[in-house]
Amino acid sequence: MLVSTKWLSEYVNTQGLDPKDLGEKITRAGIEVDAVLDRSHGMTNVVVGYVKEKVKHPEADKLNICQVDVGEETTQIICGAPNVEAGQKVIVARPGAVLPGGMKIKKAKLRGEESNGMICSLQELGIEGRLVPKAYADGIYVLPETAVPGESVLPLLGLDDIVLELGLTPNRSDALSMLGVAYEVGAILSEDMKYPEAAYTASNVKATDFLKLTVEAIEENPMYIAKVVKNVQVKESPLWLQHRLMAAGVRPHNNVVDITNYVLMEYGQPLHAFDYDRLETKEIVVRLAGDGEKIVTLDDQERTLKSNNLVITNGNEPVAIAGVMGGANSEVHDGTTTVVIESAYFVSGSVRQTSKDHNLRSDASARFEKGVDPNRVILAAERAASLLAELAGGEVLAGSVIVDELDKTPAEVVVSPDFINNRLGMKISLEDMTSILTRLKFDYQAANGLLYIKAPTRRQDIKIEEDIIEEIARMYGYDEIPMTLPVEESKPGGLTSYQAKRRQVRAYLEGAGLYQAITYSLTSKEMSQKFALETAPVTELLMPMSEERSILRQSLIPHLLEAVTYNTARQADTVALYEVGSVFLGETDSGLPHEQEHLAAVISGKWLDHSWQGEKKAVDFFVLKGIVEGLMELLGHTSELTFERAVVDGLHPGRTASIKLSGEKIGLIAQLHPSEQKDRDLKETYVLEMDLAKVLNKEVEALYYAPVSKFPSITRDIALVVDSEKATGELQAIIQLSGGRLLKGVNLFDLYEGEKMEPGKKSVAFSLTYFDPERTLTDEEVVNAHNKVLKALAEQAGAELRG
């Protein structure tokens, strides 16, 4: 909402406040002033000129040489506008003027002819093109004949004004009008209101003799009033009215249309003007449209109506979409003589639906959607009638054509002052409260320790006690509210065990060298299930903004890979990222997808790089595996952790493993398939994804300390020759199972496959630690245990001791 402070001061005394200060007060009281706009843009030296003479420029077809009376002198100005004519009063920017775009006006020579200034369009004075009256949209603006050469044009065009731009929240639709803003300012400044006048002499002829009204859809349209005005002269509006509309962001058309728009801005009540003769039937019928019924609206668009759209008809065909836009067939035009002014109460839901159906929003629909003041429907109609009499020479017929079943009783709220103070934590006196209600112009009675308040119908947002609390508090001033802390039973706050562990997981991964990434949950169809640990029906948006972001992901890896690719393309030689986020597995009984919190990581490039010491190592599978092992150690799951070869689309078939805890699959770790790497221009890249929720929710044994023994341990190394494809994990498991209770540690310390070995064989060396916390072991005990291990290895894995 754009509020001209000059216009505003017609309804309320703004106490000569600087508009900036006024804006600040309005903001602090609850309606945010987004901007304070100076319509003059600081312009000077822009005056009225009188074009005495116009001749064609001898050297340029499109230029005219004008002799212009600018008050103190007559001076020559070259003008290129197509509509400049001798005898016009025009806007002249004199040398020294600075126009809003920053253009500085100087004396100049145009094709050899002297030019002492510029004849201006409204756009050149900073008025948006869409607001400039159509007649002047492509040329200079022509002022009324009464303009006096040499005088500043700023007051004439209402540019000596400052406009407040209000950012209105949906509850404050009352401020979608100048009067509504005036009420607010009046309450803030403790000032009274001056209401607009609606006085005219009505004709003897009755409106009802001219027009018949039927409302068939009373639920959608509980109130409709029509005024009929005869002998109207359609012409340009007076300048003051035009520039007020422009200041409010409305383009002037002709006096009839401008008056309806002016009253809309003044009262917040949308009006519509029909050409009575073009209605043809002397009748208005308000009804719901037939499905598929058509209307051409004022913007020359043909629209196909839906059966729930409310329309105004002439009894036969629609002449307007109620509350949204008029029809072209009944539009007021230059030859119109009799006008029907419609002022109605259209129910908000109906207008919102219709406006949405046709993707058509107007100043009118914006107000109806939020609910207009039931008590201004008649006032606005009368105000428009009086302006038509005054500015269009119209003869207002007596009375109105009216259907009215609208409930106009104000909402009543009963609240105790104690309740107000308790909720605020304040001690505002009853006198202060009632004085605020008086300033707000709310009717109230104080009795039995209670306030009985009738909220004015313009304030549709006031319904319950809490609304009154807010009104009292905002007018009293939020700065006055003291600062306290809740008084309550004190309880410790904290993280759940899951949340605490998740933080430890993050800290661990970061300590291991990975940066935390956050990527988007929405992805493309192609990526939604790629690399997924587990797939389920996808969760798809009804109306995605793009295919790229249309489906919720079931794996975190694709977007992490995107981030790695992004970084690699920007010369990062090591990228190590992890993410903790949800994947979405549809569908469950509740209708919501199952959201699983996952952990994913992607590493690529160099891992060790300390070049001057000659240490450099690319990322490999075991870097990431080590990180997983460390993580499981942190979480207390080392003994349950196993890795198993697996095959997953898009991952290296020989370098992919399932991660299992107690035999249950909880994740995967792999090298990205070389062809996928190539597609992304990546070096060897390793990925990890894990069902974090499953891991963190897994029970873990309580932590107990094991005494540190004073007895020595005994270590025996074994080197084995086994088949190449034998997994070392299997050998390790055999050793652990057969080693008995004395075997406390198994450590793989050498692995060799190569020319010194028989083909198809490899050598694996383990170091076994035997230990009894109670005593020193004898050689015999160790030999016994060790022999069992060797036997088991030979029998179960065909392992031979290497000589």
Partner: protein, 345 residues
């Protein structure tokens, strides 16, 4: 013989003086003082002397031997020290060479901000509540006093999955769910999480972003409690000398509703580019929980009351760290992420 002894002494001392290394000096020791050395020979040859001269001569030889030994030991210590120093000199390194880097990643800046806020409120007795990102229309809107067709729904264009299911547009449904689960009991929670809105991604908009909200419900929770709580938050998060101010605003789920500004932490209120010359920075929205919201979750709004507040970690991170484009948070450029490593005081 005495003369012979004197000559020998001179000779040894000269040799000691001339030795340049521990090894050479050891050779001298062996050659002169060893079992086969000339001094031992002299002692052995004393048998040929008359008996009365022997003690005198013996004492003389011993004196010379001790004298020579002392000089030699001193020389030895010196040469050993020299040798060690030479060795240490050889072992010296260029201490300006770079050290072996310790691999370290760090929190995403949004997590950093969220955890800082979480910890601050945990210290005041709050718990952390989380909920689903795909929500029922009921929890996202209806339970928050936003019935179907409510004009405020236009404020948040949403991603719908079906007529009744959507990506949550705020973390408030977690509040609604918590209230429902607590069945009338007091609540003190912080709800962080990802939220989604139908926005084109640009410097100030992101279709996915994060929110963190707080909710307190109890007997006689007052608006002054909200103000006090927010002031504690502002001071801890943005500095002890921060002031706050509340401005009336509108949210369907609170009444009264406010927006909170803090005095600019950059200029202290004088006006600068961070606060757009106003001295104040808008940080969050808050209010007293709307009675409809309480009642819908089964709370008696006449007996219990509450406050709620919500803010955007992106906005806070942008203000705190001077980040100018919201998209940086979702590009995951390591050159960006790695800047949020160090601690702040």
């Amino acid at each position: 013989m005495e003369a012979q002894l004197q000559q020998l002494k001179e000779e040894v001392l000269q040799k000691i003086e001339a030795s340049a290394s521990v090894k050479e000096l050891n050779d001298v020791r062996v050659a002169y003082l060893g079992k086969k050395g000339p001094i031992t020979d002299l002692l052995k040859g004393m048998g040929k002397l008359p008996a009365e001269e022997r003690p005198k001569m013996g004492a003389l030889v011993n004196v010379v031997r001790e004298e020579v030994t002392t000089v030699l030991e001193a020389r030895m210590t010196l040469l050993q020290e020299q040798a060690i120093n030479e060795q240490l000199e050889k072992e010296s390194i260029d201490v300006t060479l770079p050290g072996r880097p310790v691999k370290m990643g760090n929190h995403h800046p949004l997590t950093r901000v969220v955890e800082e806020i979480e910890d601050l409120f945990i210290g005041m007795g709050y718990e952390i509540a989380e909920g689903p990102e795909v929500e029922k229309d009921y929890y996202n809107f209806e339970a928050l006093n936003l019935p179907k067709g409510h004009p405020a729904r236009d404020m948040q264009d949403s991603f719908y999955i079906s007529e009744d299911i959507l990506l949550r547009t705020h973390t408030s449904p977690v509040q609604a769910r918590t209230m429902e689960a607590k069945e009338g009991q007091p609540i003190k929670i912080i709800c962080p999480g990802k939220v989604y809105r139908r926005d084109n991604d640009d410097a100030t908009h992101s279709h996915q972003f994060t929110q963190i909200e707080g909710l307190v419900i109890g007997e006689n929770i007052r608006m002054s409690d909200l103000k006090g709580t927010l002031s504690v938050f502002a001071k801890k998060m943005f500095g002890d000398d921060r002031e706050i101010r509340l401005r009336p605003s509108f949210f369907p789920f609170t009444e009264p509703s406010v927006e909170m500004d803090i005095s600019c932490f950059k200029c202290g209120g004088d006006g600068c580019n961070v606060c757009k010359k106003t001295g104040w920075i808008e940080i969050l929205g808050a209010g007293m929980v709307h009675p409809n919201v309480l009642e819908m979750a089964g709370y008696d709004s006449k007996k219990l009351s509450g406050f709620a507040f919500g803010m955007g970690p992106e906005r806070i991170a942008m203000l705190k760290y001077g980040v100018e484009d919201i998209r940086h948070f979702y590009t995951n450029d390591v050159r960006f992420l790695s800047q949020f490593h160090r601690t702040e005081v």
